[in-house]
């Protein structure tokens, strides 16, 4: 099974259809889905999610072994599956690194600050489904060393009188059918793969990004954007893309 998952992941990566780790980091390492068959919430790892997506059957293998046929995200979640909540063998052993997906290990490496302390290895805790502020919103523990909370300083006014959010997007969801899907998204097309930048870390002393040899990245990239196209809008929350490093 693991070989099959990794083969699928490699295939997706080669085709450019699979997101780079930095993008996936915004999603969850484990997704919780309510199954229409047993009405319970099950934990589906990102690798199992990718595999389910690849087969296009709409079935995802949960941590407990149950094959999940997801219920609509607009319906309230069912009670969590106790087997999915239970710690895995790796977690009991405290060897978090073995249980982590490859991209999460990569993310941990990125979080390591050049010259700073190595990122701590933590045991991955059992994932618990949490609701956040709205009936439809589901926040899932990510399994990363720390969890992100958006909008560092943006004002409440930018949310236009909304309390909470409409939902937590999943990067692996399929588009809805015409009529359900917003018309403005009908023309959405995958972007071209960007250039792959060098491995880098943040140098605390010089306060800029450097490569593995300690050379500032800005000495190695030109003025052209690294991607053929951009896919975010300046002025929006989050890093904008009209720059050199838009697709790294």
């Amino acid at each position: 099974m693991n070989k099959q998952i990794m083969a699928t992941r490699r295939k997706l990566q080669r085709s450019g259809a699979l997101l780079e780790p930095a993008v996936l980091a915004g999603a969850a390492a484990t997704n919780w889905m309510t199954c229409v068959m047993d009405g319970r919430e099950h934990a589906v790892t990102d690798a199992a999610f990718a595999l389910g997506h690849q087969t296009r059957r709409g079935i995802y293998r949960a941590r407990c072994g149950h094959d999940v046929a997801p219920r609509s995200l607009s319906t309230p979640p069912g009670p969590p599956c106790t087997e999915c909540l239970a710690p895995t063998t790796d977690q009991i052993a405290g060897d978090a690194s073995r249980s982590r997906p490859e991209w999460l290990r990569w993310l941990t490496g990125v979080a390591r600050i050049h010259g700073g302390e190595p990122a701590r290895s933590r045991t991955r805790r059992p994932v618990a489904l949490k609701r956040a502020f709205g009936n439809e919103s589901r926040v899932v523990r990510t399994g990363s060393p720390t969890a992100l909370v958006p909008d560092p300083f943006a004002p409440t006014s930018s949310r236009f009188a909304l309390v909470g959010s409409t939902g937590t997007p999943s990067a692996l969801e399929e588009p809805s059918a015409a009529g359900v899907r917003p018309w403005g998204l009908r023309r959405a097309r995958p972007v071209h793969a960007g250039q792959v930048g060098p491995a880098w870390s943040y140098c605390l002393e010089r306060q800029l990004a450097v490569d593995s040899a300690g050379r500032p990245l800005i000495d190695m990239i030109g003025g052209d954007p690294s991607a053929e196209t951009t896919s975010t809008t300046d002025g929006e929350d989050g890093p904008s893309s009209e720059d050199w490093n838009n697709d790294d």
Binding site: A17, L18, L19, V23, A27, A50, I113, G116, R125, K130, A132, T142, G143, T146, A147, L148, V149, P150, D151, P152, F153, A154, P155, S157, P169, E174, P175, G179, V180, R181, P182, W183, L185, R186, A188, P190, V191, R206, Q207, A209, L217, G223, D224, P225, T229, T230, S231, T232, T233, D234, G235, G238, P239, S240, S241, E242, D243, W244, N245, D248
Partner: protein, 318 residues
């Protein structure tokens, strides 16, 4: 005097600014809000009429009174311990936003731009209303979730659809974009999904070329953007490889209108997108209050980093 830069760790534009300020021997401290609270410590006490104390970023301590200006470069979200519940995390985030962000906001420092002003200025319908008040030319625009409204608006004229917020989504494991699109008969024949949410439609503005006008304080850097393909003619974001750049002269009335626009939003920086019609009219499309400029700086050899460094170093208070 210290310049504070709030930016993610991977930000080539901020890297360039760091180097420029170092060259000028200006004290600069950079941090990402994702470092809070694990690597950033705030110790602020209100004394009589101001906040006093310090900000410690790893091993650097900056007295709050020493912060002359703040450059806000889309820093990352706060990071809290995984052990927190979502409720606790949200609560902690709000406290951090008001506490850390509030103390920094209260300082008599210049913000380029203040995130609150920037958030307000990012709202497209408000942008059009303000631009009109500032005497700028605009395209007819419709925002609706009514199919009948779209057909009425598009009848007898070329119309484009464009996203109001980010034109990108991540789904099916891939990042997808929906840039500006010229409506055809097939689009108007099937508008299912318009009713799902608000959509923006705009009259197609006859286009000789486009311009990105980057304004830093009162300094203007005007780049003409010339598309060389059909796709980039509709939306130049479709392919940077298919663009050419010039340095056109900005008409005086447009210059004045853009300055007035920035003043209305209380912005020190703005990146305007405009269309130049065959008649030479400059039509406002939008203003990106946090717009990137790295690629355009090189494309037209404009010293935007230097101008921003001047502004941050001078630290004019609002």
């Amino acid at each position: 005097m210290t310049v504070l830069i709030l930016a993610p760790e991977r930000d080539a534009t901020a890297d360039r600014m760091i180097r420029e300020l170092a060259r000028r021997r200006v004290s600069v401290v950079r941090f990402d809000t994702a470092w809070f609270p694990e690597h950033v410590s705030l110790d602020a006490q209100f004394r009589r009429d101001h906040w006093d104390g310090s900000l410690t970023i790893r091993d650097r301590t900056v007295p709050l009174s020493d912060i002359r200006s703040v450059w806000y470069r889309s820093p990352s979200a706060f990071r809290f311990p995984e052990d927190l519940t979502s409720v606790e995390r949200q609560w902690a985030s709000n406290e951090a936003k008001i506490g850390l962000g509030g103390v920094l906001s209260s300082l008599p420092a210049l913000w380029v731009n203040h995130p609150a002003r920037q958030a307000d200025a990012a709202v497209k319908p408000v942008q059009l209303a303000v631009a009109a008040r500032c005497g700028l030319s605009l395209a007819d625009t419709l925002i609706t979730n009514s199919e009948a409204g779209v057909r009425r608006f598009a009848a007898g004229r070329h119309t484009v659809a464009k996203a109001l917020a980010a034109p990108a989504v991540v789904e099916s494991g891939a990042r997808c974009t929906a840039f500006t699109h010229v409506l055809g008969d097939e689009d108007l024949a099937d508008l299912r999904g318009v009713g799902v949410t608000a959509h923006q439609f705009q009259e197609w503005v006859p286009k000789l070329y486009e311009a990105r006008v980057t304004v830093v304080g009162d300094r203007f850097f005007v780049a003409g953007i010339h598309a060389t393909t059909d796709a980039t003619h509709v939306d130049w974001r479709n392919s940077y490889r298919d663009l050419k750049y010039t340095r056109p002269k900005l008409p005086a009335d447009v210059h004045g209108g853009l300055l007035k626009y920035l003043k209305e939003f209380d912005l020190e920086y703005g990146a305007f997108d405009m269309v130049i019609t065959p008649d030479g009219e400059w039509v406002f499309l939008e203003c990106n209050p946090g717009g990137q400029y790295g690629w355009i700086e090189d494309a037209i050899d404009a010293p935007i980093t230097g101008a921003l460094a001047d502004l941050l170093t001078t630290g004019r208070t609002p």
